[in-house]
């Protein structure tokens, strides 16, 4: 429990500078509660001093006062709801921003360890849970937490003996509320889990409906769904049962308290130590005691979800960014383009995936990394982009160790083209501008034209202003790659890292990409993870990476001339040309000999 408290108290730092508002609102809440319960004091005065004494003038005055007090209460509630919303949403916004800023500063290591869905849920549904608790729960919480003691105090002011009666009723009511809170929290959690399971089942079958139908799996899926749907129903029925018991119980306790006041009050009345007005007022005040109990029980569930959400959010906030600006880091001056890896070793976990690798790229030079998947090519590229720092050895650019420079100043001079490029929502032009938001329309159009992107997007509605849907669906892999190349070209980086696409690209688009690459590579240092021989031939130097070591290096033509790892790779991987020759010569295709390692 204390753990949860630390979670939610963490939110209090977003109140800095707003404490005056907070104090003001607590005062307003107190006035509001006083007006609500104090109004009944005036009803007593109306009965005892007006009605009982037959004094119509006093009655009029008291009624006017009563209306005035309630008008004050009304105004207080209005201020309270607005003010709490401003405070609550201020907290939510601060939290969401901090969380997001922190997330974007975490290294790729974090993102590869956590699933994307999990991380996104922290920024969205978890913060929403806190927002709900603050915007719906907070006004109820604040007014009722103040109302309960205020009402009891007023009851004691009215008549302390009747106040004691109330104290007898209150403990069972509190016990009942507590019981209900506990039970319903568990039940609500169960309900949430069950409906989540139902939703997951529906989502999975809808997303995979083609396969469900193609393989005649409808009946099996219906059976699974029926089971989950039944469980969800049972869980809801149980939760409803709890609610159905709790609220009538509170009503029953209210009736019992009325009876108790009647019995005790009538005795005092006959003794002449109590007025009829006090008795009547006490009956209504007691009803007012039960109202907060009901409403607080409603809020309790929300608070629990919020606390649970905060625990998860805290786990993200506590994750340390392991790549960042060191103290004393200097801005990277304009890069001329020498890249050096000096005896670099690196491990994601325990075991090294790179073993003392050294690479030198001269300004404007181009090296190609080739080798089988898992050999360490991508890791090398990521070290140059400083997504990670090496375990031993160093990565330096123009002779400056990357660990000593400001990350932002370095990366802004860097361009990256990924194998499966990610496109952001917005237009294609927005995506080109991603790395250089200030680029003019003219520059964007010119860049697109330079690599033939303009003709390719002409088939799309709106051309360059075509809206890209989530993740770039609707565009082919080749088109996305081309957009990503244009993006890098527009950014005009000094160093370029390129992971060549392996996936299916139809030939005409592929030709466009080849030409775009020529354009992109001109005049900058580049590191290419190459999959095609055609690309490898562009490089000044080819490095064959196997199991975290460079096993062969040299110009492509030289390497092809000798029997070694590169020639073996080229033999099996120089895919399209060879495959078609085989397919062409002896169809139907023979089973090719199993290629090397």
């Amino acid at each position: 429990m204390s753990h949860r408290r630390t979670g939610l108290t963490r939110l209090s730092r977003y109140l800095t500078g707003r404490w005056a508002l907070v104090a003001g609102l607590v005062a307003v809440a107190t006035v509001s509660a006083a007006a609500q319960s104090g109004g009944w004091l005036l009803v007593r005065a109306a009965i005892d001093d007006g009605i009982a004494k037959g004094d119509e003038h006093t009655l009029t005055v008291v009624v006017v006062l009563y209306l005035a007090v309630n008008a004050v209460g009304w105004a207080c509630q209005l201020i309270l709801i607005r003010g709490l919303a401003v405070i609550g949403q201020g907290i939510v916004l601060g939290l969401r921003r901090d969380l997001f800023d922190h997330l974007t500063s975490l290294s790729l290591r974090y993102f590869s360890e956590q699933r994307a869905g999990w991380i996104i849920a922290r920024v969205t549904s978890d913060v929403d849970a806190i927002s709900d608790a603050l915007s719906q729960g907070l006004p109820t919480l604040v007014s009722n937490v103040v109302l309960l003691p205020t009402t009891v105090i007023v009851l004691f002011i009215v008549d302390w003996r009747l106040g004691l009666v109330a104290m007898v009723i209150l403990p069972p009511a509190l016990v009942l509320s507590r019981w209900f809170q506990r039970k319903s929290a568990v039940a609500q959690l169960d309900v949430r889990n069950r409906i989540a399971a139902v939703t997951a089942q529906v989502a999975e079958s809808v997303a995979g409906m083609a396969i469900v139908q193609a393989f005649n799996r409808e009946r099996q899926f219906q059976a699974q769904f029926d089971e989950l749907n039944r469980e969800n129903r049972a869980s809801n029925v149980y939760a409803q049962q709890l609610f159905s018991v709790f609220f009538p119980s509170i009503e029953l306790l209210g009736a019992i308290s009325t009876c108790a006041v009647l019995v005790v009050g009538s005795r005092f009345l006959s003794e002449g130590t109590l007025t009829i007005g006090t008795l009547i007022t006490a009956i209504y005040l007691l009803q007012l005691v039960f109202q907060p109990l009901q409403e607080l029980s409603d809020v309790y569930g929300q608070l629990q979800s919020a606390a649970a959400a905060m625990v998860k959010i805290t786990s993200v906030l506590d994750a340390e960014p392991d790549i960042g600006d060191r103290p004393g880091a200097v801005p990277m001056p304009p890069i001329s383009g020498t890249v050096d890896l000096d005896a670099v070793s690196f491990a994601y976990g325990e075991t090294d995936v790179l073993h003392e690798v050294s690479i030198h790229v001269p300004p404007g030079g181009c090296i190609a990394l080739v080798g089988q998947t898992g050999g360490g090519k991508s890791t090398l590229a990521k070290l140059i982009a400083r997504f990670y720092d090496p375990r031993t050895g160093s990565v330096s650019v123009d002779g400056t160790d990357l660990r000593g420079v400001r990350l932002g100043s370095y990366r802004r001079q860097l361009g990256v083209v990924l194998q499966d490029p990610f496109l952001f929502s917005g237009t294609i032009a927005d995506n080109l501008r991603f790395a250089r938001p200030e680029a003019s329309d003219h520059d964007v159009r010119e860049t697109a034209a330079a690599i033939g992107l303009d003709r390719l997007v002409a088939r799309l509605h709106g051309g360059l202003d075509h809206e890209v849907r989530e993740g770039g669906s609707g565009l082919s892999a080749g088109e996305r790659q081309l957009i990503s190349i244009a993006r890098a070209l527009l950014a005009d980086p000094r160093i370029l890292i390129l992971d060549e696409a392996t996936s299916n690209i139809d030939r005409p688009t592929e030709v466009l990409i080849e030409r775009a690459l020529d354009r992109l590579l001109r005049g900058r240092s580049s590191v290419i993870i190459a999959h095609r021989l055609a690309t490898v031939r562009r490089a000044d130097e080819v490095l064959v990476v196997e199991r975290g070591r460079i096993v062969q290096r040299g110009a492509a033509s030289d390497l092809l001339a000798v029997d070694g790892p590169f020639r073996r790779l080229a033999g099996s991987r120089d895919l399209p040309g060879r495959a078609v020759r085989e397919a062409g010569r002896r169809p139907p295709p023979a089973v090719p000999a199993r290629p090397c390692p």
Binding site: G73, F111, A116, N229, P248, S249, A385, L414, V580, P592
Partner: protein, 586 residues
């Protein structure tokens, strides 16, 4: 004409009729709930009257001895009311929960039978929320609103009758605020709905922004654009704050009013009633009765506003649900089904035309025949109609003109389940389910012998990576389990189709995410296991093409070239344009 796969909402009257029909299906609970609501109203009013009598007959005359019968009566009535209230709430809540579950079951059953054309038009999120979140208003309305509305109406009518019998003039005075309360409640519900929808939309934007940044984090960090992304996200988050604060503004205007308007009535009763008491026209007990009943009427009045609003939302949701259930056109089953012949099946497309609803024709007249056991590749540029053609074979769609024949029989004359039992499919994006690898593999044929499963896994290249999985074939796949790479997923989908043991296999670009080296290897292993099956495969790379005996080239929705790949290359026409200059690269 309305789209048969995206029908308009059901009109109001039939919606109400269908919903009432479902509601009345739970009539035992419904009647129980209504009877309890009536009893509850009667008891609550009676308790107030007994309290009035107790004050007038025992407390004011200071006769303590007379008080006990009244107190006991109140306790007895309150106890009975407790049980009745509990029964009413529980019974009606159950109606709602059961109805919700029933509707969801009906929708899900519908989903399983809806054709592809339906799913082309509706994003997954929409289809899912229609069967989950969208049903909640129906549950609340049926499970709470209907009976609560009945009870509220009873309470208001009963309360007014009781008060009018005691003092009609005072009843009129005290009723000043009541229409206002109902109005404010209704207006609030009316105003807050569109705002809360905007809140939801704004939250959707935040989710999208977060999603993009997280999924595209490598891009963001690589170009050092963290600040841009943060700013964009911050703006979206701020807009959520602004709308929520705006919503609070609407709440601030209405909710306190709901709370404080009843005090106007109390003031009226204290003022006018107080003078009546002084004048001897009203007893103290009756004075209390007025206040008590007025307080008891507050909630029913507020509730009516909510219920009206809830009814609107529930009926809108039900209208959409019923429209899908009744009006979405399914693939027609044959009236006189014909069986498929035994042995390897031939496949033929005869003058096949196809257009997606409301769009231009994709296939303009495809003629293509596959003899039993033949493997044919379908090639063509992006948008040539390869996937569309392939999707006709498992009868995901019916052609708009022409015929698709399986073993010489028109697909539309064969029961749908039989078509699907004989045609295995590998979709472009592989679809696996969040179950174990083993269950995924045998999804097409749960009783497949294990040695056959292993053999197919060997051929499809699944066996290559199974040893790397934490618990081999029993590894859980997907969100809660292991995330396989795109290439691995494709290989599992391939194995699943092979294990299904069908006579026809449709492969839509089956190895696009597998690296070319592995593909080369797989193609060789696949040839023997495809022996005797009729296979149609869409291909973009020559390495995939190596699988086929023959290639057909689609262009502009028709077959323009057909023959052996080597021959087609020599023709130096469309096919050569697609693949030809790949030779020159090496």
């Amino acid at each position: 004409m309305t789209n048969p796969f995206d029908p308009d909402d059901y009109p109001l009257r039939p919606t109400v009729r269908r919903l009432s029909h479902l509601w009345w299906g739970e009539r035992r609970l419904v009647v129980l709930g209504l009877v309890c609501a009536l009893a509850y109203t009667t008891l609550t009013l009676t308790v107030s009257i007994v309290l009035q009598r107790a004050i007038d007959n025992a407390i004011v005359p200071n006769d303590v001895g007379k008080l006990w019968p009244y107190v006991l009566a109140i306790l007895g009535l309150a106890l009975a009311r407790f049980w009745i209230n509990f029964t009413r709430r529980y019974a009606t809540a159950r109606i709602g929960v059961r109805l919700e579950a029933r509707l969801r079951e009906m929708l899900y059953e519908g989903y399983l039978g809806f054709p592809r054309a339906f799913y082309d038009l509706h994003p997954t999120g929409q289809v899912v929320s229609r069967a989950t979140n969208d049903l909640f208003p129906i549950r609340y309305f049926i499970g709470w609103g209907v009976v609560q509305g009945f009870q509220s109406a009873m309470m208001i009518i009963g309360g007014v009758i009781v008060l009018a019998l005691v003092n009609p003039r005072l009843t009129l005075y005290s009723a000043v605020a009541t229409p206002l309360i109902g109005f404010v409640a209704w207006r609030f519900a009316h105003l807050v709905m569109p705002i809360s929808r905007r809140v939801q939309a704004a939250k959707g934007d935040v989710t999208e922004a977060a999603d993009e940044a997280v999924v595209g984090i490598e891009m963001v960090q690589a170009f050092g654009r963290e600040d841009d992304v943060r700013e964009r996200f911050g703006a979206k988050a701020a807009s959520v704050r602004n709308i929520v604060v705006q919503q609070a503004g609407v709440e601030a205007k209405h909710l306190p009013a709901l709370f404080y308007l009843p005090t106007l009535s109390i003031a009226a009763v204290v003022f006018f009633g107080g003078r009546d008491v002084i004048d001897g026209n009203l007893t103290i007990g009756q004075f209390v009765l007025f206040n008590t009943i007025l307080l008891q009427l507050t909630w029913p009045l507020e509730a009516l506003g909510w219920i009206l609003n809830l009814a609107q939302r529930a009926l809108a949701s039900a209208g959409r649900t019923f429209a899908w259930l009744e009006l979405v056109q399914r693939l027609p089953e044959p009236e006189n089904p014909r069986p498929l012949p035994a042995g390897p099946l031939s496949v033929a497309f005869e003058r096949v035309q196809f257009a997606y609803p409301g769009e231009e024709e994709v296939l303009t007249g495809v003629d293509l025949a596959l003899s039993p056991g033949e493997i044919v590749a379908v090639c063509g540029g992006t948008g040539a109609g390869k996937s569309t053609l392939l999707n006709l074979l498992p009868r995901f769609y019916d052609p708009t003109a022409g015929r698709v024949l399986l073993g010489g029989v028109d697909l539309r004359d064969v029961p749908l389940a039989e078509v699907r039992a004989n045609v295995a499919v590998i979709t472009q994006r592989p679809i696996l389910f969040s179950i174990t690898l083993r269950e995924n593999l045998i999804a097409g044929r749960p009783d497949a012998p294990w040695d056959e499963v292993e053999a197919m896994c060997e051929a499809a290249g699944v066996a290559d990576f199974v040893p790397d999985l934490p618990t081999g074939y029993d590894t859980l796949i997907g969100e809660r389990g292991v995330n396989l790479s795109g290439g691995q997923r494709q290989r599992v989908a391939l194995a699943r189709a092979l294990i299904a043991g069908t006579r026809v296999i449709v492969l839509d670009d089956p190895l696009s995410a597998v690296d070319t080296h592995t593909e080369h290897d797989l193609v060789g292993r696949l040839r023997p296991v495809l022996e005797g099956r009729t296979v149609i495969v869409a291909a973009q790379r020559l390495s995939t093409l190596a699988l086929a005996d023959r290639a057909a080239v689609l262009d502009d929705g028709r077959v323009v070239e057909d023959g052996r790949p080597a021959d087609l290359l020599e023709q130096r026409a469309v096919f050569a344009g697609l693949f030809g200059d790949e030779i020159g690269v090496a």
